[in-house]
Amino acid sequence: MRQAMTISDMFAGIPATAQAPYLVTEAKVREFERSIGARTPPLPAAGARPAPPTFAALIVQPAEAKAVAQLLDPGTRPRLVQLDQLLEFTRPIRVGDRLVTTTTVVTDKHLGRRRIVAVATDIHTVDGERVGRSRATVLMRGGA
């Protein structure tokens, strides 16, 4: 049925279940800094060490993968290609943050055998402080 549609937004606006809180640790931030060749920045005069901006991927990608997986028919294994990524910050992610996410499917378009899904993820602390937002677009081919 879905294959017969050229364009649909049938899943748009459905929020995915938030993941368990993610605790940002000093060791994980340092490991991530090393993996992208970052110079270890000096400790800020006040406050906890900030993480590199794309550290946000550790928090949002599992949530977004889960949201995309929920769209798929059971047993299908489409090829997924991430087309783009946007990260916006109210403030940097910092060591000691306990972060939660809410992911929403923004668009879900079928274009022949291709399907383009855009997902948006809000990042908050467990205390409700807004930290940032992610938006990503994924192309699926075959089996979608």
């Binding site: 490991e31 794309t54 991927a57 990608q61 783009d84």
Partner: protein
């Protein structure tokens, strides 16, 4: 990449006020399979197309490819390193082409070109990003940096 990334031009530490429409020093990274494995572990993205030729071939690729977020991470970090007293407000990337990384010592060289673009506000510096691999553009993007204060 472990031997520290090479800086093509290590002059001109950019400061707010003189970065208007100017290019930041290009940054070159030579990435090898071990760098992809290290990023996989650090990021938790264990998709085998980033370390297994068999999985990559099964997925329709011609070989192992770098994580898009790894390439974006290198590119955004090049800007963050060039503006060490800034705070990144936003960053974006379009993944224009896959970055193939052969299983050899030569690895794959990426060149990150960052240019201050548009009209910088007193507080914010907009930077346009292009990442080139060989003759191919593999990523285009943008970073907005708040330069008014120390990292919060």
């Amino acid at each position: 990449m472990n031997e520290r990334s090479q800086r093509a031009n290590d002059t001109a530490e950019p400061t707010p006020g003189n970065t208007h429409r100017s290019a930041l020093p290009a940054v070159r990274h030579r990435i090898r399979r071990e760098d992809l494995v290290r990023y996989a572990a650090a990021s938790g993205d264990l998709n085998p197309i980033h370390w297994s030729d068999r999985a990559a071939t099964d997925a329709g690729l011609t070989g192992v490819v770098a994580h898009g977020m790894f390439v974006m991470g290198l590119a955004v970090q090049a800007v963050a390193d060039a503006l060490p007293h800034g705070t990144v407000l936003s960053c974006s990337a379009k993944f224009a082409a896959p970055v193939y990384v052969a299983d050899d010592d030569a690895g794959t060289e990426l060149t990150i070109e960052a240019t201050v673009s548009g009209d910088p506000q007193p507080s914010c510096v907009p930077v346009a990003l292009v990442v080139v691999c060989g003759a191919e553009t593999v990523l285009t993007g943008a970073v907005l940096v708040d330069v008014t204060q120390e990292p919060r």
